[in-house]
């Protein structure tokens, strides 16, 4: 599981949704990249993600990875944000019966997991119903 440096490096993405955008074709991607996967352009500029979107697909994890044992069962999904960027995240504050493809969500800052009783606390974004 992430070492402090691996966690810290992704903070601008996990805390502030910093993305980037291809100057040539306009594609926005998250996390930021060095080369546009569409047009192979290498001129990129900073961008921020839209913070609202819709759920494209979801599931409920019932057999979780180790650090998520106490959270299971929990919902995870892929949401498409208003700016077209898609990302994966947990869906919380929502009863499982209310999960629906197309449901509007927004990004909220939550604790993703913790490294046992003595390790670092790992924060990031989750989807909450909007």
């Amino acid at each position: 599981m992430p070492t402090p440096s691996r966690y810290w490096r992704e903070i601008p993405q996990r805390y502030r949704f910093e993305a980037n955008q291809c100057k040539k074709c306009g594609l926005k991607f998250f996390p930021p990249r060095l080369i546009c996967p569409e047009c192979k352009g290498q001129e990129l500029e900073e961008a921020k993600l839209a913070e609202k979107g819709k759920i494209l697909t979801y599931t409920i994890i019932r057999v979780p990875p180790h650090q998520f044992v106490d959270q299971a069962p929990f919902a995870v999904g892929i949401a498409e944000l208003e700016d077209g960027v898609k990302l994966t995240g947990q869906i919380v504050d929502c009863e499982f019966e209310d999960l629906k493809v197309g449901m509007p969500v927004r990004l909220e800052f939550r604790k993703i997991f913790q490294e046992g009783e003595s390790g670092i606390l790992c924060y990031g974004y989750k989807f909450v119903p909007d």
Partner: protein, 348 residues
């Protein structure tokens, strides 16, 4: 004049009722409800803590303040349930908001008044011209020992205030602090739950300091209770705010809009600050508001605010405190509550 330029609150959506807790411990729910004037309290989900709630409350405050977060010069989080024993909550908050790296950050603690402490310092820095904007948050996910009286009220929530000199929503007219060394409620290092002095937490603690601060600030400002539209006191249970209000000469109607505890519980460092956000939500330009916090150990911070015209512009730019309190609630049973609050000992 300096004052609040943005404010915001955050309440997790889980609740647990007094009856549900009483059932498990064989206590008499109706008498607890009557005695504490409490129906239910908020419960944080396992993925929520002082830091996450501070971030969301602060984002709401930013929406109302409409400033560039990079210009925030001070970020303070006051809590008695900071997620780390050593590593600030404030750094995560400042990073999440985009206030880093040119910012002063500190974590505050002083039982339930850690929030207003941060407010005092942030406001003072703005007043002194040391920073352009200062952010202070009072947030807690405090615990009550299982079966103890405090378990019925220990709740979770956050309130954030951004202070500045322009586009002020509520002018800071006066501040005053009143403090003595009074061991009414404490937690030693490595202890999981706090301890308290029972009835000693009343008169020599809560009442003495709130009355001291309330009288002190009104004298300093040359004001009397009737001059205020609203007053907010620290809310450890439903009864104390009304009792101390009466002692100071305030009416129920002045206290009620900021009185959240009966359905929120005691959010500790968030308690009076959230009463203030809820009050601002319903206030009108020209209203005078008095807030007096209380932190065990013991002390009270008092502030007098005067609401400006700007309140009408900003009120609905972010969720209202009472909407967070009353809408979209999810009730828990004791088992799930105990799991969420890590009261169940698991294998390593």
């Amino acid at each position: 004049m300096e004052g609040i330029i943005g404010y915001g609150a955050y309440i997790p959506r889980n609740r647990i009722k007094v009856e549900e807790i009483a059932k498990v411990w064989g206590a008499d729910a109706p008498s607890y409800k009557r005695g504490l004037m409490l129906e239910e309290k908020s419960v944080p989900s396992p993925d929520q803590d002082t830091i996450t709630m501070s971030v969301e409350a602060s984002k709401s405050a930013l929406k109302r303040a409409k400033i560039d977060p990079a210009e925030i010069g001070a970020v303070y989080v006051g809590s008695e349930s900071h997620p780390y024993a050593v590593k600030p909550s404030g750094t995560v908050l400042a990073e999440a908001l985009g206030a880093t790296p040119e910012v002063h950050t500190a974590d505050f603690e002083f039982a339930c008044k850690a929030g207003t402490e941060g407010m005092f310092v942030a406001l003072s820095l703005v007043k002194a011209g040391e920073v352009k904007y200062g952010l202070a948050v009072g947030a807690d996910t405090s615990q009550g020992a299982p079966g103890d009286a405090l378990e019925y009220s220990a709740a979770a929530g956050a309130a954030a205030f951004i202070f500045g000199k322009e586009n002020v929503v509520a002018k800071a007219i006066k501040t005053y602090s009143y403090m003595t060394d009074t061991p009414d409620f404490w937690r030693r290092e490595y202890q999981y739950y706090p301890q308290h002095g029972g009835r000693f937490t009343g008169e020599p603690a809560y009442f003495k300091h709130i009355v001291g601060a309330g009288r002190g600030i009104m004298e300093k400002a040359g004001m009397k209770p009737a001059d205020f539209k609203y007053v907010i006191f620290h809310q450890p249970n439903g009864k104390f705010p009304f009792r101390v209000g009466k002692m100071l000469g305030f009416e129920k109607a002045q206290i009620e809009p900021g009185w959240l505890v009966n359905r929120l519980g005691n959010t500790y460092s968030g308690s009076s600050p959230m009463g203030l956000t809820a009050t601002l939500d319903v206030s009108q330009p020209g209203d005078m508001i008095l807030i007096v916090s209380y932190g065990s150990g013991a002390g009270s911070d008092a502030f007098i605010f005067e609401v400006t015209e700007r309140i009408d512009e900003v009120r609905d730019l972010a969720p209202r405190t009472r909407d967070l309190l009353d809408k979209n609630k999810k009730y828990l049973e004791y088992g799930e509550y105990a799991k969420f609050r890590h009261k169940i000992r698991k294998a390593d």
